[in-house]
């Protein structure tokens, strides 16, 4: 367990303690303020070079990370690997060695294979590696911004601030994750973050979209989706990969929508205070009805907005300091 990500890589949320998570959320509060200024830029990472290495295209995550890096005054080397000559089958070691030769302090990495960011971190131990999503494994900044967004809204409702509330608002908070848990790195990061922060997590999905050995996870499995909706304080929907939507995992997209989609009908079961999250991009009409996505309870746009301060906080904490210990 890590109690801080200062000077470390950010590869997974599974090994972060509550303190480490709260520190990122608190730091992000400072950056929310920066993002509200007329001049949304601070010189914190001036002279630092951050490479963004996206093997899998993801416009929103990539833009969010690069905006965060630029607002910290870092130089950004943007490598659109997904559309470049680097193809499946190239050694990760060779690719990262090439980029490292340009002199980088950090690398933001998205890859279709689980564990790719961790592998890269072994090849360049002097570079801080930030996982921007690896296969089915983890999407740490998404988990952080989800927790951050929830804390922000709940704090506002109570007339306090996220900074003042720490992890208190998460105690006993009931979080329901719905849909393709099995293939979701967002779910893995959300579960790690919300559980460590003190929330109670329940999952609802067809059996084929639950991970193996779910009984050994720190979550409960919903036996009745409609009841779970009434139970939840927060409902986190997950993107159903369309290629997995048909065939062997679920019979059809329409059957999935009928059984686990957040339709207008089902949304009526939610308590008025219940928040709806979605990591995007949404399949409107599949996991979420268009009208539900536009309800005030849906904090989907806020999640996108909060991506920048969260990623600024992560870049700041992991890259800004030297790894030299005090007194050395």
């Amino acid at each position: 367990m890590l109690d801080t990500i200062r000077g470390s890589n950010l590869l997974t949320l599974a090994d972060l303690s509550r303190d480490a998570l709260v520190e990122v959320l608190d730091t992000a509060e400072s950056f929310v303020e920066v993002n509200q200024r007329a001049i949304k830029k601070v010189p914190t990472l001036k002279g630092r070079v951050v490479a963004s290495l996206f093997y899998e295209e993801s416009t929103r995550t990539r833009l969010s990370f690069e905006t965060a890096a630029k607002r910290l005054s870092a130089d950004v080397l943007s490598l659109a690997v997904a559309s470049s000559s680097v193809k499946k089958g190239e050694s990760l070691r060779d690719t990262i060695a090439t980029i490292d030769a340009l002199g980088i302090d950090g690398v933001i990495m998205r890859h279709q294979s689980s564990g790719a960011a961790q592998q890269v971190s072994r090849y360049v131990p002097h570079v801080r590696v930030i996982n921007a999503g690896d296969g089915l494994h983890q999407h740490p900044t998404q988990g952080l911004l989800d927790a951050f967004s929830v804390r922000q809204v709940l704090a506002q409702r109570r007339g306090t601030t996220g900074l003042e509330s720490g992890s208190e608002l998460f105690q006993g908070l009931r979080v329901l994750l719905v849909g393709d848990i099995r293939h979701s790195r967002v779910a893995r990061s959300d579960i790690a973050a919300f559980c460590a922060l003190g929330a109670e997590v329940r999952v609802a999905a067809p059996g084929t979209l639950l991970p193996d050995e779910i009984a050994q996870w720190p979550v409960t499995v919903s036996q009745n989706f409609d009841e779970a909706l009434e139970w939840a304080d927060v409902v986190g929907l997950l993107r159903l990969q369309r290629e997995r939507g048909t065939g062997s995992f679920v019979p059809s997209l329409s059957e999935f929508t009928a059984t686990y989609g957040l339709t207008v009908e089902r949304a009526r079961r939610l308590r008025p205070s219940t928040l709806i999250m979605h990591p995007g991009p949404m399949n409107r009409g599949v996991e979420i009805d268009s009208r539900v996505a536009d309800l005030p309870a849906a904090i989907i746009t806020r999640q996108v907005t909060n991506g920048v301060p969260i990623r600024m906080a992560v870049l700041y904490l992991t890259i800004a300091g030297s790894s030299v210990e005090v007194g050395q």
Partner: protein, 191 residues
């Protein structure tokens, strides 16, 4: 306890070993009243004055100073808090400092700003503060008030209002809070 020996990060882990107390709470209050009078004397147009305390050490002094000014002049003196962590020039050579909230809810353009901090030492925090302020607007002028000036400047910066001048050795550490000022050493220094 707020400690204020630059660089900031070095006191993050505490380690302050007290030697003696140089000022008490009454001394602090007296100094802050005197400083408020000096500010009023020097600034004829108090309606343009803003007090900006530097996080975290400067905050309590800024709060008291602003209250004193309001009392003396009857003018509404806006108070803001500024965290300069993101503007520091020593981030790369020290562990990452914890950030604090910046709260400035009025436009600084064309205003006279009194920056308030606890201890003035190398001057690097004030340099960072000046850079930060320039991102908030273009003040008419910036003045500096500190509770303690302990010398050892590394930049061409001088205070306009000083609570107490305390010549120190670089190996010593100073802690200044609203409760008093102490001199001592940092336990972990020169490891």
């Amino acid at each position: 306890m707020t400690s204020s020996n630059e660089p900031l990060a070095r006191n993050a882990g505490g380690g302050f070993v007290e030697k003696s107390r140089l000022l008490g709470a009454d001394d602090i209050q007296r100094a802050l009243r005197r400083m408020a009078h000096e500010i009023v004397e020097r600034n004829t147009d108090l309606s343009r004055l803003s007090i900006i305390g530097l996080q975290k050490g400067g905050e309590p002094f800024a709060v008291t100073l602003a209250a004193n000014l309001r009392e003396i002049s009857g003018a509404q003196i806006p108070l803001g808090l500024l965290d300069v962590t993101f503007y520091r020039d020593d981030l790369a050579s020290n562990p990452v400092p914890t950030t604090s909230a910046t709260q400035i809810d009025h436009d600084l353009t064309d205003r006279t700003i009194v920056v308030v901090d606890d201890v003035l030492y190398t001057g690097r925090t004030i340099r960072a503060a000046l850079n930060a302020l320039s991102d908030w607007g273009r003040p008419r002028s910036v003045q500096l008030a500190v509770m303690v000036d302990r010398g050892h400047r590394e930049l061409p910066i001088r205070p306009d209002y000083v609570g107490k001048n305390l010549p120190t050795a670089q190996s010593e550490a100073i802690v200044a809070t609203i409760e008093g000022v102490w001199i001592g050493s940092l336990g972990e220094q020169h490891a």
